[in-house]
Amino acid sequence: MIPLSWYLLVAAALFSIGLYGVLARRNAVAILMGVELMLNAVNINLVAFWRYGRFPEQPVGLAWAVFVLTVAAAEAAVGLALIISIYRHRDSVVAEEMDTLKN
């Protein structure tokens, strides 16, 4: 007998952890991992609202979760490719050092 808000709280906690990773990590790949955690938290919410909602026979939440999955994959693919490219040109993966456009 688990109330809906438990799932939502877990998702919120996971989202905050991911957010912390995104804001606080030096390494660009680690920042991407934080983003993935945040997207997962969103997906938990979507699925929980589908299951606890009034129309479980219409899997709209599931469909959106699959689209979020797609976006997450595309984001990881492009993001990591960018990191690899930047590493090749600048020999660095520290997000703070990528400041060519500064000043």
Binding site: F15, S16, A30, M33, L37, I44, A48, I84
Partner: protein
């Protein structure tokens, strides 16, 4: 009762692994913890009757995205340095932001406790026919190709995947002389 214990165990596991992801110095261990965290989320999906999505989570996140991340770690060797701090210049500020985001959400739930009960045993999962739950996978398939539902996002998703592939190859593949 058992269900609640399982839920608490799975979610604590997920959150702990998530914490390791954002705090561990060794990037490879962070990637492992990320996989474990994804596994925990898959467990939550199963508890939410979304078995198909749980399996998609394993297939895509653990089987594909994590491997992509580990390959990227291997390709950028300086990441393996573990002496420095894993954090940038603003971990404190980031921590305050993250905690306050969580606090705001939790406060909203506390305000809405009449509508979404917080106590164990209240507001249980609405019962659904087993046939509805099992049929949700086929229904999902119908939605993806039905013109009244998700056919446009479905096709756009394929275009986005195409764009992502072309973009990443363009960015990551070393240019030959005549291209650059």
């Amino acid at each position: 009762m058992i269900e609640q214990i399982i839920f608490i165990v799975i979610s604590l596991f997920t959150l702990m692994m998530g914490w390791i992801v954002v705090s561990n110095n060794n990037l490879f261990h962070a990637a492992l913890a990320l996989m474990a965290s994804f596994l925990g989320v898959a467990g939550l999906y199963v508890m939410l009757d979304a078995g198909f999505l749980a399996m998609a989570q394993l297939l895509v996140y653990i089987g594909a995205i994590s491997i992509l991340i580990i390959f990227a770690i291997m390709l950028t060797r300086r990441m393996m340095q573990t002496e420095e701090s894993p954090f940038n210049s603003q971990p404190g500020l980031a921590g305050i932001t993250a905690v306050s985001v969580f606090a705001v959400i939790a406060f909203i739930f506390w305000q809405m406790r009449e509508f979404w009960p917080l106590g164990a045993g209240e507001g249980a999962m609405p019962p659904a026919d087993k046939s509805i739950i099992l049929g949700s996978v086929a229904k999902l398939g119908e939605y993806f190709v039905s013109p009244d539902a998700f056919v446009l996002p479905f096709e756009v998703a394929s275009v986005m995947l195409l764009a992502a592939l072309i973009g990443s190859i363009w960015v990551a593949w070393p240019k030959t002389e005549d291209e650059s």
